[in-house]
Symmetry: C2
Subunit: 469 residues, 2 copies
Amino acid sequence: MFKPLLSLTGGLIATVAVGIAQAKPLSQEDLSVAEVLRDRALSSSNAYSIVESLTVEVGPRRAGTEGDQRAVAWAQEKMKALGFDRVYTEQINVPRWTRGHAHAQVTSPFPQPLVVSSLGYSVATPAGGLTAEIIEFPDVEALQQAPAKQVEGKIAFINKRMEKARTGEGYGPAVQGRSKGMRAASEKGAVALLLRSVGTDSDRFAHTGMMSINAIENPVPALALSAPDANLLEAMLKRGKPVQVKLDIDNQRHTDGPSFNVIGEITGREKPEEVMIIGAHLDSWDEGTGALDDGAGVAIVMETARLIAELPERPRRTLRVVLFGAEEIGLVGAKQYVDAHLHELDNIVAVSESDFGAGKVWRFDTRLPESKFDIADQMMQLLAPLGIERGNNTSYGGPDSSVFVARGVPAFGLYQDGTDYFDYHHTPNDTLDKVDPENLRQNVAAWVVMSFLTTEMEGNLGRVPTSVK
Amino acid sequence: MFKPLLSLTGGLIATVAVGIAQAKPLSQEDLSVAEVLRDRALSSSNAYSIVESLTVEVGPRRAGTEGDQRAVAWAQEKMKALGFDRVYTEQINVPRWTRGHAHAQVTSPFPQPLVVSSLGYSVATPAGGLTAEIIEFPDVEALQQAPAKQVEGKIAFINKRMEKARTGEGYGPAVQGRSKGMRAASEKGAVALLLRSVGTDSDRFAHTGMMSINAIENPVPALALSAPDANLLEAMLKRGKPVQVKLDIDNQRHTDGPSFNVIGEITGREKPEEVMIIGAHLDSWDEGTGALDDGAGVAIVMETARLIAELPERPRRTLRVVLFGAEEIGLVGAKQYVDAHLHELDNIVAVSESDFGAGKVWRFDTRLPESKFDIADQMMQLLAPLGIERGNNTSYGGPDSSVFVARGVPAFGLYQDGTDYFDYHHTPNDTLDKVDPENLRQNVAAWVVMSFLTTEMEGNLGRVPTSVK
């Protein structure tokens, strides 16, 4: 019962129409408290302060780097300062890599420099660089199907454009070239891969990102080209003469090393062993300051927990904020987390992650047993006034959450407007100025509704079908 | 008389209301031809092809570099292909400089890399770089007025923001820091200058550009910071601890060398010695491909001349397209051009330059004797339908044109919408995709009206007051 809160917040609490109370899983009182939290979120600028602090005081924090270590220290200090009950880390093991210089230039027929960025874990060129003719493919499938003798000794250039969409749905098709392109280039005897950036901007930034690098015998250097540079190569090739490019790349792969998932808890008052996980990832790519990806998410979930910790009473079950390490290089932190927590998976009542920038939440997706849909419907009463519509039940809850969902953990997805997200994603241009403080407030308001009601509700959410056998 | 044209263009020619013909300086026939040319410009994509060719086949072309040499060759070939009567070059003398690497990073209290670009002709740091505390100034005037002992041994950081405006009027105040900042830093004993970029974007591009470098005894390295990086330093400084930055810059100044103004003429049929100059500058900064600055201008004036050259008859006087060299480093080509052409200045009836990007023309400014205002009024009849309003009589006709105007040559200014121009100006992001083909057509339409009528009209435009004694 929330008597202390009710008296504390007094007149602030508006009546939420929930029909006949006993027929619904969420109580009128819980909804009223959630509404107060929502409105507090809308007038707090603390989430913005958190992402400001992370980007200014830490900045780039690729897994396994010194920046990553600083981020881990920062996150623990910040959670303690915000009033979490328990703050701790869990070590994970991450592959490490040093990014050196990446110089590229057309040497013939029209000498010009190109703006490129090494894709994650790309090998170097031979010292002094390599020069070869480029051969263009509309997508990775075309490269995979090309006769090897057409490709041998050349630089494969995958020139696929990504479509812009609020849902970010252009990413899936476009990212194939990044995940599989280097392997395909290597198998066809290409000496390197040049990839039109997986991005929706037309700025001269190359978008880095992870490749699939496992079990490739002869990895070749792999680079993203900015959109204007891909246009340039395309225009040169249209003129019909061979286009020669010189690449000079200096990267290094290292042995694995430690990183950490950083965890902060608001301990449940009645069922502390039952846990809702709300996550974001702490690591970032190394060319920007990771404001959108995923500083905003870090800020949203930390501020959500802080608002709940400010209540006079702890919620019924535990709210666990997990800042995953090494998400960018393959959900490394989430996979190792789940492996280490198999024993308590049944007690994880739900999972959700914020990792799609800082746009307004516009849709509330779920992955729940059908019998629990009415809980989502009740949450919608408080989410709808934030401009959020009810979505589908196929949410995977965010990238890291998907590892939990695959094992039957129910998930919530507060879908952000991602129209501009891939303009900045994985570029040097992912910086604080791209975060709108107003949008961030709206995000926290939605998150605190969902998180409070899930940790406070009487029943639980059951399990969803697993995809891991 | 334009009989052949009139019969050629036949039904295309609409009637232009000009009142009583003999009271007006421009004839009905000339206005009719100008209208045909305007409408041809609106349906031609040739200007876009020209800027595409320059950016793809040449790209960066800073004065005195190999790219500059390629641009000079490209311009001559292109003018010949477009049907100019005479194509030639005039040698100029330019200071030369090599841009090496520019690395900057905060070393304490929050280690992070910074995105910077050397300002034009910046000296290098000592080998291995230099590390010093930064000291912030709101503008160059504050640095000039600071006590030297506050500044000595530090890196001066000028943190002035530029206002966005259609007219670009924020540039004047903001650019003071770039032109005078390094001198002021040197005089106060600073070890380097960091300047918030003179630009209106919030992207992680530093804006390079020229400094005043004459007669500075102890030049210090001078760098532009991207706006997000200037924000970052500002945010770190607000935390109250000293901020240390390491700079590692590798540039080199050289002895002067040759470059060229490239000139193409459509020779006048009656008064070939009387000349209208329409100009743009051929050089660009070296980090972008110079699409907006000033590939668009090059394309606009070349296409204007080509359209006039397609007429069955040459206009009465000569139309001279001058592609100035070395504009970016101090109007070098224009100054040397005027010095070499003092003998014919009286025969230069008017000058105009396109050098403000590729936005739509929205205003028609002039610098004419008052007695000639009616000519501009008549031109306005054909410009107004393009969405152009009549402006003022204080135009300097563009940067290079200003050297002519100072000596009494009348000028026209077709003012472009510059709202976004300084988002891209002098950055790697000045690339072809920023040029809107539709806007380019509208520009050429306005230019061809002004250029045809000025080269064809019966009388001339007189002189304007000189500012050079």
